[in-house]
Structures are given as structure tokens and as C-alpha cells.
Symmetry: C2
Subunit: 224 residues, 2 copies
DNA sequence: AACATAGCCCTACGCCGTAAACTCGTCAAG
DNA sequence: CTTGACGAGTTTACGGCGTAGGGCTATGTT
């Protein structure tokens, strides 16, 4: 006897499948359209079934965002760091244009998924290979992240803000094992700032002055 | 006979009072805490009473955001445009630090309230007085807006995206009457870009190159 | 005195996220 | 062949959400 329709066409659910559906739904109808009932409907399943594969709704949204960030394609980076960063930025932009809901969501959440960490790693490697000091690279990530790349809300926020008992350096290194440049930065960032994290005020003024300088240089340019 | 408690201590509601309560509530418990029932509770009133003074919930959130933007204090701007912009940016930052929920919300919404328009107007005046061409000022607003000032998602988006029948220039001018520099820009922006609005791609690359240039100049600096 | 209006309340509807208990097919151990 | 555990999915229920629609009352106007 043949399998019933239900049995045949219901491939088992999975985190992957849930997140993919969430991204597609957000692409079609905006982030607000993401709800468990709606997602279940989209997947041919009751809403609560989704909880087998996902912690809660935030986990879905964070996961969808990280999936989008993961779409940013990475070729072998050019030798010239500016060219490499430019290529990465344009790749990021084209992805964000495919998923217009994503940037706004990224800004809202401070959660940093693996794909995002991977991109930060890539940026740091490009910069360090281009001759940036750790500090300079750190500031560069802040400036690039928020506006240009559409990700980052620095990953060390927790250790920085909490100011409670900080994990020992080697534990930090282990947590960031697959991301050596990020780990290097994480350790370096603990030595200076009073709280061991980023000095937000400094990063803000760094970016501000960078922009003001750049604008001054282009002040009189009239071409569009 | 004395007034009942209800009659005496219930000053009439007003849009002002609702928005102020919304800002305070968001400051205390985050934007998500803003709900009509909760707001009513906060104001000593049933939820539905709020609808007499406000269109809907989005109107409340947009209004709260604009109220926050309106908190940015503006002294007489310095002669030096860089100093003036720096002062404005720092003022904006200090306000945003008082209302940490605001920047993320601003990014989400493309609604531009009067306070926000007023700030854009101020920025444009500073820039034009500093010798910027209209075009250069336009690009500068884009670069400054999203990261540094925490507002702007350009105000001409509608006319740019819609690409339907555009209102005649004089109508645009009238809509922006209290904001002469904005109006000037709005008219200028219609002459060039294929769609009569901003060329998003250009703005993106402009900001990108500005940042890359600036970073290159600071590449080797080691101080934090 | 008659009525209009403003300001607020009440009820109800269809959404939402999620806790808890259920069903049911699969499969290994006895 | 029975039994029992287990995992995936379902069902039900709860409290909260935005808001449409209508009702009540106090005040002001004529």
C-alpha cells in the first residue's frame, strides 16, 4: 500500500528548514509576518511543532539574520586591503538588498551568530594583512560594521557591559577558537579600556572625526 | 459638593501627555513595553481612551521617536562647520544615550517627523554655510545621518521609490516650507538621479570610499 | 429645556508566544 | 510477539496584543 500524502510529502522538520522558511517569509512579507503559527502554516505543520527545533521566536529571528549574513559570498580576498574591503562591502550590500528587512533587524539585536562572527573574522584578517594595528583594526571594524557592512554591534558587549566576573583570557580564546583574529582582538581589548571592553565614547568620536575629515576633503566636489 | 477623585485628578489626556508617557515607559522598560493597555494604565485611563488623541500605535511610536529627536539641543551653531557638526553630533549622542531604545527604532521606521526634519534642516544649513555644494551636502547628510546622528532614512524615499506621478516642484517646496535648506535639496535632487530621488548606490559607495580613505589615513595609528 | 459634543469606558474579535499534556509511529530489548 | 521508551507533531489553554464598534456621562450651546 502506498504512503499516505501526509507521510510522503512531510520531510521531517529541522532548524535549517525553519530558518529558510523564515527568511523567505520575511523576504515576501516583512519581518513582522514571521510568527510561529504562520511559519507552521508555511511548513505544513502546527505551530508548536517548530519548538522541537528552535528555542523560541527570538532564536528564529536571530537564526534567520545569521543565515542572511551567511549568504555573503567570500572569494579569496585581494592583496590590496582597500580592494578586498570594497569587494566584501559590495557583496554584503547586494545580499542586504535581497533581504531588505535584515539590516534593521540586525541593528535591533545584539546577538552575534556564527556567520556574523565569520564575517568579522574576515574583515579583521583583511585589515591586519593590510598593515593595521590591532587597535586600528578594532576601530575600523566599528566604523565599517554599523554603516557599511550592516552588521556588528560589537561582540564583546556582554563582557564589557556586565563588568561582573570576567572569564579568564584562555576561555575567551577557546570560545573564539575558529576565529583567530577575533580572539586576538578580544584578548587585546581586555588590556586597556577601564571595563575591559570597547570604549564606546572613543569609538563614536573616532568614527565621527573620520567622517568629518573625509567630508571636508570632498566639500567642494560638485559632481553627483 | 466636592468633585469626585476621578474628576479632580484626571487632567485631560493629550497627544503630548501620551507621547511623554510612551518615552518614559520605553526608557524604563524598553520599546516592547509600549502597549496601549500598559500606556493607559500608566496614564490612569482605559486603553481605548488613548485613541482620541492618537491615530494608532505606530503613531505613538513615531511620535515618541520624534519627541526624542526634539530633545537634541541646538545652540547657535559655531562658524566652523566641523565644530558645529561635532557639537550637534555630540548633542545627538547624549540624547540617544538617555533613550537607548531610540536609535534602533529610528532605523526601523522611515517616517520623518517634524523634529527630525528640523535637525536635517540644521545639518544642511551648517554644511551649506561651510561651503558645501548642494550635492556635497546631500551626500554628507546621508553619511552623517545613519551612523553619526542616528536619524535619517532619507526623507525623499517616497518620491524616489514610487516613481509614479511626481508632485510638481512648487508643491514640494510648500510641503517643506519651514525647512528651506531641505526644500532646496528636495528640488535639486529631482534634477539628476534617473528617478528624481537619491541614487542609493551612489550614496553607498560615496560613504564606503569616504570611510576607506579615512581608515587608510589612520591605518598605522596605535593609540587607543 | 433640548441637544451636541468631547472624553472616556466596555465588549469583542482575531491575532500573538508559549507552557503543558496529549497522540502516535518507530524501534530496540525482552 | 510483546513491551516500553522515545521523538515528532498535535491539541488545548492562557494571558496579552491592536483595534473596531458602541455606549455612557459631563459639559457647553442654544
Amino acid at each position: 500500500m502506498v504512503d499516505s500524502v501526509e507521510t510522503r510529502e512531510r520531510r521531517p522538520l529541522s532548524r535549517e528548514r525553519v530558518l529558510r522558511a523564515a527568511v523567505e517569509l520575511a523576504d515576501r512579507e516583512g519581518v513582522e509576518a514571521i510568527s510561529l503559527r504562520r511559519l507552521g502554516q508555511e511548513l505544513g505543520v502546527e505551530a508548536m511543532a517548530i519548538y522541537r527545533h528552535v528555542r523560541d521566536k527570538d532564536d528564529i529571528v536571530d537564526g534567520a539574520v545569521d543565515a542572511v549574513v551567511g549568504e555573503i559570498e567570500v572569494g579569496e580576498p585581494s592583496e590590496d586591503w582597500q580592494a578586498a574591503m570594497r569587494a566584501l562591502a559590495m557583496a554584503a550590500r547586494s545580499v542586504m538588498l535581497r533581504h531588505r528587512w535584515a539590516p534593521a533587524v540586525i541593528v535591533t539585536r545584539q546577538n552575534v551568530g556564527p556567520a556574523m562572527l565569520g564575517q568579522i573574522e574576515r574583515v579583521l584578517q583583511i585589515l591586519r594583512r593590510g598593515g593595521f594595528t590591532i587597535d586600528a583594526a578594532h576601530h575600523a571594524v566599528h566604523v565599517l560594521g554599523s554603516r557599511i557592512l550592516g552588521f556588528t554591534q560589537d561582540p564583546f558587549n556582554d563582557s564589557a557591559q556586565a563588568s561582573g566576573p570576567q572569564p579568564p583570557p584562555d576561555e575567551v580564546v577557546r570560545a573564539f577558537a575558529p576565529y583567530p583574529a577575533v580572539a586576538e582582538l578580544a584578548v587585546a581589548a581586555r588590556h586597556d579600556g577601564a571595563l575591559g571592553g570597547c570604549d564606546d565614547d572613543f569609538e563614536f568620536e573616532f568614527g565621527l572625526d573620520l567622517v568629518l575629515d573625509g567630508l571636508d576633503r570632498r566639500r567642494a566636489s560638485a559632481s553627483d
